[in-house]
Structure formats: C-alpha cells, structure tokens
Amino acid sequence: MSTDYTSAEMMTVTAARALENGMTCFVGIGLPSEAANLARLTHAPDVVLIYESGTLQTMPEVLPLSIGDGELCESALTTVSVPEMFRYWLQGGHVSVGFLGTAQIDRFANLNTTLIGDYAAPKVRLPGGGGAPEIATCAGEVFVTLKHSKRTFVKDVDFVTTLGFGRDGKGRDGVPNIGKGPTRVITDLCMMRPDPDTKELTVTSLHPGVTKEDVIEATGWEIRFTDALETTPEPYARELEVLRELKERTARHHAGEAPGERS
C-alpha cells in the first residue's frame, strides 16, 4: 500500500466516489457523512445531502458530530420536521441513495445495529435502528461503509435491524415499492457488491496493496471474489487534500466549541 494515504482515507475516498453528481443522498452520521461531504467538495458539487434531522440540501463547512448539529441547519436550503422528513422526503421517494454505516453486516448485506447476543439478555446493547430500516427500503439504492473485520463482517447478523437481502438473499423479491437495496459496500480493504443472482456480497475490487488473503482473514464467512477482480483506483492528491482540510477544519471547530461550565 502506498504510504501517501491511510486505509481509512482510501475507504472514504472510494465511498465518496460512489456518489454521483445530482444524486439525492440520505446521509448517515460518521463515515457516510464524511464520504458524502467529500463527494460534494470534489467531483459532485450538486449532490444533494439530506440528514434525518430534517435538514434538506445541506452544505456544512465542517463535519457534524451529531446528526442534528447547528451547522447542518444553518447551511441547509430549508429544514423540515422529522415526521415530514421521513414521510415526504424518504418514503415519498425523493432519495436516490441512502448512505449507511453499521455495527455488523452479513453476507446478504443485512445490517445489525441493535445488539450482540440474545435480545432478552444482550451481551452488547447497540444504539438501535434509527433511520436505517426505512432508509434501506425506501431509498433507490443503499451504500454501506464500515471498517473491515471479522467482528463486523459476520456470516449471519445476530439481529436484522435493517434489511439487506434477507437471511436467504430473497428478502426483496416480490416486495412492492422497495428500493434495490445495498448495491455497494465499501471498506478499508475493498469494495463489495451483491452477486446479481444470489445477492451474496462479493468482492469486486481490492484497494491498492490489499491481498485476497487480507480480506478473507477479515471476513466472517467464506468470502467470494468476482472473476474480473479489479484494483480500486488510488485517491487523487486533490481528494486527499480536500479530505484532510475538511477533517482539520472539523477538529478545530469541535475543539473550539466548548464554552466550558456554565455559571
């Protein structure tokens, strides 16, 4: 791997490139938000970013820490109520892509953000579904981005918080008014796409310097690779520059933001 950029940067740049100019993207907080804003600041200036807090077409200068930072509202075209956001804008069919993170993902791209272990007596209680269950079904398609590890890439998720393609890959078959589901999963090692027939997640491109063995080692099932396996294009210098500036701006902003204890 080149020493010019980190694997985290490679992941973000690749995720950003998945967004096309003119798409309307419902953005999850964290990695998806970083990637979506990088896209907006580089090749996709007209990408429309929507956050579930009600902020429509927002253009934050710095990355929000939460899904409802003031920055999102101040730089938005307009801000609607949360019921309107989910009813008119998401369920109403105005979102072309939902961009999600997750705690666990399985071979059929089902997402678990609910818990590890048993529901009645969880080993680890995670935050829960949030917007994801309906983003994943109402958006035209879904991109997922997360770090690659055996802990996160599991054969079967403990709990299907959010539908990928179901426990058998057929979870969207015959369902009316449903989006295409996860079409890309972008990690720090590779890009995966669902197999056109089985919907099993399959590696379509390895990031520069990453080997098949690296991916096999970090995946909780016998991961497949497409025959036409590609190498993910490296980041351009401009992308890295914009990303680093964005993160620096963000760090400065959040550090300088604590007014201290109130009197």
């Binding site: 939460s66 409802g68 579904g129």
Partner: protein, 273 residues
C-alpha cells in the same frame, strides 16, 4: 391557555410518578434543564418516550427514574454508547428497565398520528426487519385499495410532553426554530405539556409560516435560560460537543456518574446543571 410557572412548579404539577413522559428535541433544543428538575424531584417509574434518548435520558435512567423506555436510537450521537442505558439493559443497574424499540420513521409517524388525534400511524416500514419480532406493538395491515401490506404502530399519546424552545411571547405562544424535530407533535399529542424557553419577549417577530405553537395548546411555560445546554439552541448558543465526548467517560463508570449527578444536578438547586 399556557400558564407561566417556575420550572420546579411545572414539573411538580405535571410530571407524576408512573407517568408516560416525552422529552423531545432532535439533537437540538433538548430539554436538559427540565430533565434535571425531574431527577431532582425524584420522580419514579416513568415511561419515557423519545426518538433519540441522548444524554438526558441516560441521566434519568442512571438516576433511577425510569421503568420503561420507548425509543428508536439510543446512542451518544457521534460518540458511541449511552452507558447508563446499557448498564440498565445489560446489567440491571440501578434497576432493570423495560425497553420497546422502533425505527425513526415509525416513531416520527407515531408522533404525527398522536398530534393528529389518531390511534395509529400507517407507514411503509419494517420490511424485512427483525424489530416486529421483538416489539408486539408493530402490526401490519393491508391497504383496502391496493392490497399492499403496510406497517401500523400505535400513536404516541403521552401524559406529558416537555420540550425546550427559543422564546415565548407574553400570551404564551412559542417559537421553535431550526431543527424542529418532533417537538410540535410531542406537545400536541400529549394530555399536558411543559415548554421551557430561553426568554419571554413582547413579540415573536416571525414570518407567516414559522413553527409557532399557540399558548392555548400548551399547559405551562417555564423560563429556563440555557435550558437545552449542553445541546444547543439555534440563535442562542452552540452545542457543547466537548461535553458530549466527556460524557462517555463520566457515564462509563457508576461512581463517576453518581458523583457527576450529585455535583451537577442534586446539589445544583434550581440552577441548571
């Protein structure tokens, strides 16, 4: 018609032990001052409803006020877990709490339906999710026109809703501005409501379609300057993101949490945090 009360008196009058309570504010305008007053007054056995529990519910849970939590995303936004929530769910400290969880879309629709006086909300939701397996309040109905199966959830109809807003005029009409979340819906869906405000002004000075809640739809208004801190109030003060990060450390440890609660809530009198 909204009555102007002190925060102490508003909470004392409208929040009963055992009540179902919504404190709303989607990241923005979270009613921390009111939540702390609920803790100080030692309310118990509350059923708390909120889309994003946030630190305020973490504190209420850790303080032992809560019997049941209805929510859709229970984390510290951008930071990680709510450790007091996890400790209650995973280890039963300070006691076991019951949880009922939804998706955001369903809860947003349930607030909307509550404000609309309906018993249920209908949405295209929960397709393929395991949530209906663990929440018996999620049902499915068939559209009588198209046959499409759609999810149905009970509307939110709390005993009391508590929200924070920027300002009220002297008649008790309230302006909510910025990220307005489900605050208006929470107030309209509830039997009683308390709105804390940064200030009271002569004239709200708003555009024709601003989000204004009329005083006659509110039970009580209490002035609570910086009442949303450490969350934020658009036009007044920013979110203290540093405190949200620091909370992760405070809340991980039962003793550290208890000390924080003593210093910043119990022994803070009526002053906020």
């Amino acid at each position: 018609m909204a009555e102007f009360l002190s925060l102490h008196d508003a909470v004392a009058r409208y929040v009963d032990d055992g009540a179902t309570v919504c404190m709303e504010g989607f990241t923005h305008l979270i009613p921390f001052a009111a939540g702390h007053e609920v803790i100080r007054q030692g309310k118990r056995e509350l059923t708390l409803i909120r889309m994003t529990p946030d630190l305020i519910y973490d504190q209420l849970i850790g303080a032992g006020c809560v019997k049941k939590l209805i929510f859709s995303w229970g984390g510290n936004p951008g930071v990680g877990s709510l450790h007091r929530l996890r400790d209650a769910v995973e280890k039963g400290w300070p006691h076991k709490i019951e949880i009922l969880e939804h998706s955001h879309a369903a809860m947003a629709c349930a607030y909307e339906a509550g404000a609309a006086g309906l018993p249920l909300a209908v949405l295209r939701g929960y397709v393929g999710s395991d949530l209906p397996k663990v929440n018996d309040q999620i049902k499915f109905i068939d559209c009588p026109f198209t046959g499409e199966p759609l999810a149905a959830v009970p509307s939110v109809r709390p005993d009391v809703s508590i929200v924070h807003a920027q300002k009220a005029d002297r008649q008790g009409n309230v302006l909510v501005e910025g990220i307005i979340g489900v605050q208006k819906e929470a107030v309209l869906a509830a039997k009683s409501s308390i709105v804390t405000v940064e200030e009271v002004v002569d004239d709200l000075g708003v555009e024709p379609n601003a989000c204004v809640i009329p005083g006659w739809a509110i039970s009580a208004i209490a002035v609570a300057e910086q009442g949303a801190y450490p969350s934020y109030a658009h036009g007044y003060y920013p979110r203290n993101n540093r405190f949200y990060k620091e909370w992760d450390t405070i809340a991980r440890d039962r003793d550290a949490f208890s000390t924080w609660l003593d210093e910043n809530v119990y022994n803070a009198g009526g002053a906020q945090q």
